[in-house]
Symmetry: C2
Subunit: 318 residues, 2 copies
């Protein structure tokens, strides 16, 4: 099938272009000072740079933001700083799912009250093997207590880290009671068959693969785009794939291959320290390299290897 | 080997009786109201009852306390309420390990400043597969920032829930730099061979099995006692085993068997809801049955089954 045929082909699925939440979103790395406190100025500069590079929006306080390593106050203050600096609320998707119900309520209400209606919610992730009914109650309590009809909840499915999967059954329970508010899902399972299944089962939800590796397949199947950690260093590459797909351009194949090659090179290392390392090198700013415990900065040896493997492909961070 | 021989046998291990932290400790269930807020009065009554039943101390804000489902403020307020109500700081071991470094610092400092020097610390538990060096940095930062020489840190090893094991390598790293402060470990792995290995490797640490199932084996091997969820409904049974062991009594075998039979019956169900159910029935107080999301109250059908299986053994909650 040529690109032109693909573009012309009618689909029963809503195109990503017409979905209320769509595009290439970057979960934003959060730089820290020597004492591990958030470096607000470096953060704001990076957030603006990601938007300039073509991100449709920024997911703030997911895994890549080291969100669970920061306190509620740190998270709320950084969001306020971003808004005060002129990043628009509509450009943000805010991570608000915590282990403790009152914490999830507080962060979600804070985001919504500040105009950020899109929230990306982890399930409470300490207890494992909890029932869908228990997780339903967690999400429902947050939605009820925040009580904002404009709230848009996206599930954050990352079973390898949370240990608590978002099941089809849970989504069905919540969609039935909160239509409109239950709006989407980020699938960080790394399992394309799971993403494809969710897109097919929930055609009205905005389903985002958690890696640009599946951006194109997602777009061709009714997905909404991607929310991908590695957009922090390759936002332009992911946006180029999006644009080529949207235009039905024959450049899509090559752009897609380049983008995936970069992803493959980076994810051979711990993705958060590896990207902070790349940004530190690119900006000649060693402070960028630092991560908050329990993560560790990338070892120099690993960084050199990563730079070598990226030098072999068509990749330009600049 | 008879009881008398066992008592007389010299051991290279420190006896539990001579360890600075020892005995039968109950992680305390935390009752909640209809709106899931903490029910302070019911909590205080239960805490006192556990001490009356023979607990050497109470572990507040571990898994059984649903600690990670409560906000920092809720946790600190309940600790203050317990102290104000006359529960002594020395009788408490406070759970203070969170995902976020500033949260762990805040809770640990709050406990220590209120005289509670014994803290039971989960590792930061969102990121999985983190290195010992990263976990070292997490614990070391907390200890350095709290800066209290009287602090006594007990590791909380519960890999099934935290997903982040406490390794021998991590303990060695921290013991080397913080001797005296690194004081013990609760082993909730459920794997006796792991507990035995830790007791042997770290003879100066107070190692507690996370189940009364291994209380006796632990005591016979140099363990410090047990910190066990099911002491909430069988503190007297566990204390009787401790006393029989300490006295070298021939009653030990029978008491141990009874206690383990009760544990086996209860842990066939979700342990937190099951015990809240048993207490609700025993006190004719249905409010006790409630758990905070994401957990779910025990189903009545399960509760009836549990009561039936407990009726078959020598078990008396009263």
């Amino acid at each position: 099938m040529t690109q032109a045929e693909r573009k012309a082909e009618p689909s029963s699925q809503l195109s990503a272009l017409n979905r209320p939440i769509h595009g290439v979103w970057s979960p934003v790395l959060v730089p820290v000072q020597d004492d591990f406190s958030i470096d607000v100025e470096r953060f704001l500069a990076h957030a603006r740079w990601l938007l300039d590079k073509g991100c449709h929006g920024l997911a703030l306080f997911g895994t890549t933001s080291e969100a669970n390593s920061f306190s509620l106050d740190e998270r709320m203050q950084l969001l306020e700083a971003a808004l005060e600096a002129g990043i628009e609320a509509r450009q943000l998707m805010v991570g608000t799912g915590c282990c403790a119900l009152p914490d999830s309520v507080r962060l979600t209400k804070h985001a919504a009250d500040n105009g950020c209606k899109k929230v990306l919610m982890l399930p409470p992730f300490y207890y494992k093997g909890v029932s869908d009914a228990g997780l339903y109650r967690s999400y429902a309590e947050v939605i009820d207590r925040v009580a904002d009809d404009d709230l848009r909840v996206l599930f954050y499915h990352f079973p390898k880290l949370s240990g608590v999967p978002i099941t089809v059954g849970l989504i069905e329970l919540l969609l039935a009671d909160y239509p409109g508010i239950i709006a989407g899902l980020k699938d960080s399972s790394g399992d394309w068959s799971n993403t494809a299944d969710l897109i097919e089962r929930f055609p009205d939800m905005c389903i985002f693969p958690g890696s640009e590796r599946y951006l194109r397949q997602g777009l061709e199947s009714g997905g909404a785009g991607c929310i991908t950690a590695t957009a922090n260093v390759n936002a332009a590459g992911a946006r180029a794939v999006w644009d080529a797909w949207a235009a039905g351009s024959d450049a899509l194949d090559g752009l897609d291959q380049n983008m995936i090659a970069a992803r493959t090179a980076i994810e051979a290392y711990p993705v958060i320290p590896a990207q902070k390392f790349l940004i530190a090198r690119h900006r000649k700013d060693p402070q960028w390299q630092r991560v908050r415990p329990p993560l560790l900065d990338l070892e120099d040896r690993q960084g050199v290897e990563l730079l070598e493997s990226l030098a072999k492909i068509d990749f330009d961070l600049g």
